[in-house]
C-alpha cells in the first residue's frame, strides 16, 4: 500500500464541510417539522376522523414504510413533474423526507396515544369536551410526551437518511463531500471526514434531545 493519507486538504475545505453539515441539519429540521405535522394529522385522522380517512392513513403508512426512501425521493423529484408538480431539488428533498418521516411519526404517535390511559379520555368526555378537544387538549400532549424518546431517535434517523438526497442534487453534507472528493481525488479522506461529522451530529443531537427531555419531563420518562 503506497497510499499516503493527506488530511490537509480536508482541513483546507473544512468550512465548506461545516456549511454542508449546517444544511443537513436545516433540511432535517424542516423535514422533521413537516413530518410531525403529517404525523399529528395522521393520528388525528386515525382516531377521530371518518373511516375512509383512517384507511387512507393506514395505506400511506404501509406504503412509505415498505418502500425505500431513495425510491420515494425519485418519485417526488422525477415522477411528480410529469403531472405538473415541479419542485427544486431542496424542495423535493424536504417534501420527500417529511412524507417519509411522517409515516414513522404517525406510527410512533399511535403507540403514544395507545399508552394514554382510557380513563383520561372518558373523564374528558364526561366533562363535556368534544372529540376533537379530547384529542388536542388531553390525548395528544400526553402522547407526545410518551413518544418523545422515539421521536428524538426518529429525528436522528432522518438526519442520517438525508444523506441520500444528494442524489437528486440537493445541497447538504454528502453533496458537498461528493463535489470535494471528485475535485481533489481524496475520496477516502473526505468520506472519512463526512462520516465523522455525521457521527458527531448524531451523538450531539442525541445528547441535546436527551437533555431537553430531562429538563422538560424530568427523569421519570424514559
Amino acid at each position: 500500500m503506497a497510499y499516503t493519507f493527506q488530511f490537509g486538504v480536508v482541513a483546507d475545505n473544512f468550512p465548506a464541510l461545516l456549511q454542508g453539515a449546517a444544511e443537513t441539519v436545516e433540511l432535517s429540521a424542516a423535514a422533521m417539522a413537516g413530518g410531525l405535522a403529517v404525523g399529528v394529522l395522521g393520528a388525528l385522522a386515525r382516531n377521530v376522523g371518518p373511516r375512509p380517512a383512517a384507511i387512507a392513513v393506514r395505506a400511506y403508512v404501509e406504503i412509505i414504510r415498505n418502500t425505500p426512501f431513495l425510491v420515494q425521493l425519485f418519485i417526488v423529484y422525477f415522477s411528480l413533474p410529469a403531472i405538473g408538480l415541479r419542485l427544486s431539488a431542496n424542495g423535493a428533498a424536504v417534501l420527500g423526507m417529511a412524507l417519509y418521516a411522517g409515516a414513522y411519526i404517525t406510527e410512533i404517535l399511535r403507540g403514544g396515544i395507545g399508552a394514554v390511559p382510557r380513563g383520561e379520555v372518558e373523564a374528558a368526555r364526561a366533562l363535556g369536551l368534544t372529540k376533537l378537544q379530547v384529542f388536542g387538549l388531553v390525548v395528544l400532549p400526553q402522547a407526545l410526551r410518551i413518544a418523545y424518546p422515539a421521536l428524538s431517535s426518529q429525528f436522528i434517523l432522518l438526519m442520517l437518511a438525508s444523506s441520500v438526497v444528494s442524489t437528486i442534487s440537493a445541497e447538504e453534507l454528502t453533496a458537498v463531500t461528493n463535489t470535494l472528493q471528485s475535485t481533489t481525488f481524496r475520496a477516502f479522506e473526505f468520506y472519512f471526514a463526512a462520516t465523522a461529522l455525521y457521527l458527531l451530529m448524531a451523538l450531539g443531537f442525541r445528547a441535546v434531545l436527551d437533555g431537553i427531555r430531562r429538563l422538560a419531563f424530568g427523569r421519570a420518562v424514559t
Binding site: 497510499y3 414504510r65 425505500p68 425510491v71 418519485i75 413533474p81 442520517l160 462520516t195 457521527l199 448524531a202
Partner: protein
C-alpha cells in the same frame, strides 16, 4: 430515440429484483453471524468487550449507510489502489451495517431473558458458554424473531443505496429504464411496488409474530 414502457422494460426491472434479493440475503447472512458475535460481546461479563461492541454499534448506527458504502467503494479503492467492483463493496458495507443493527436487536433479546435463567444454569454448574448456548440463546432467539424480521425489511430497503455506486439492483434498473423511456411517472411507482410486494408480507409477519409472542408472554404471566 424514444422507447415506450412495455413488457421488455418491466421484465428488465423485475429480473433485477433477484439482485436486490441476493444482496439482502448475503448481507442478512453475513450480518447475522457478525450480529451474533456483537450481541454476545455486548452482553459479555468482561467490560472492555462490551465497550468494543458498543462502539461498533454506535459507529454504524450513528452514520449514514450511504457514507459507509462510499467509504467502502470509493475510499478503499483510492487507498489500496485496487478498483473494487460494486458487488463486494456493497455486500461488505451492508454486512457491517446489518451486523450492527442485528447485534443491538439480539442484545436486547439476550437481556430480555430473565436473570434467574443464568443463575439457575450456574447453579446446575453449567459454564458461561453452555449457559449461553443451551439456556439463554434458545430463549432469546424466540423473543428476537419479530424484530429480526422487521430489520430484514429495513435491510431490503437499504439495498436501494447500492444503486448509487452503479450496482444494478431493482432501483438502478428502474433508473436505467426511466432514462431511456422518459416515463418516470410509470417506472418509479413500479419499482416502489416491487419493493412493497417484497417487504409488506414480511412487515405483516413481523407484526403478527410480535402480537402472538406478546400474548403468549402475557398468558404465562411474565
Amino acid at each position: 430515440m424514444n422507447r415506450g414502457f412495455g413488457w421488455t422494460e418491466f421484465w428488465f426491472i423485475l429480473s433485477a429484483l433477484r439482485w436486490t434479493i441476493a444482496l439482502s440475503a448475503v448481507a442478512f447472512a453475513g450480518g447475522g453471524v457478525l450480529g451474533l458475535a456483537i450481541a454476545i460481546l455486548r452482553t459479555a461479563p468482561v467490560r472492555p468487550l462490551r465497550w468494543l461492541a458498543r462502539g461498533f454499534i454506535e459507529l454504524f448506527q450513528g452514520t449514514p449507510v450511504l457514507m459507509q458504502l462510499f467509504l467502502a467503494y470509493y475510499g478503499l479503492a483510492v487507498v489500496t489502489g485496487v478498483d473494487i467492483s460494486p458487488w463486494p463493496a456493497v455486500a461488505s458495507a451492508l454486512t457491517l451495517y446489518a451486523g450492527a443493527f442485528l447485534g443491538e436487536i439480539w442484545r436486547g433479546s439476550i437481556e430480555a431473558v430473565p436473570l434467574g435463567q443464568w443463575e439457575a444454569a450456574r447453579g446446575l454448574s453449567l459454564g458461561y458458554w453452555r449457559t449461553l448456548g443451551l439456556v439463554v440463546l434458545p430463549q432469546a432467539w424466540r423473543i428476537s424473531i419479530p424484530a429480526t424480521v422487521g430489520f430484514l425489511v429495513q435491510l431490503i430497503k437499504s439495498t436501494a443505496v447500492a444503486s448509487l455506486i452503479g450496482f444494478v439492483e431493482v432501483t438502478r434498473a428502474g433508473q436505467l429504464i426511466s432514462n431511456v423511456t422518459f416515463q418516470p411517472l410509470t417506472v418509479y411507482p413500479v419499482v416502489a411496488a416491487l419493493y412493497f410486494l417484497l417487504c409488506w408480507p414480511l412487515s405483516r409477519a413481523s407484526r403478527e409474530m410480535e402480537r402472538r409472542i406478546g400474548v403468549r408472554l402475557g398468558e404465562r404471566g411474565f
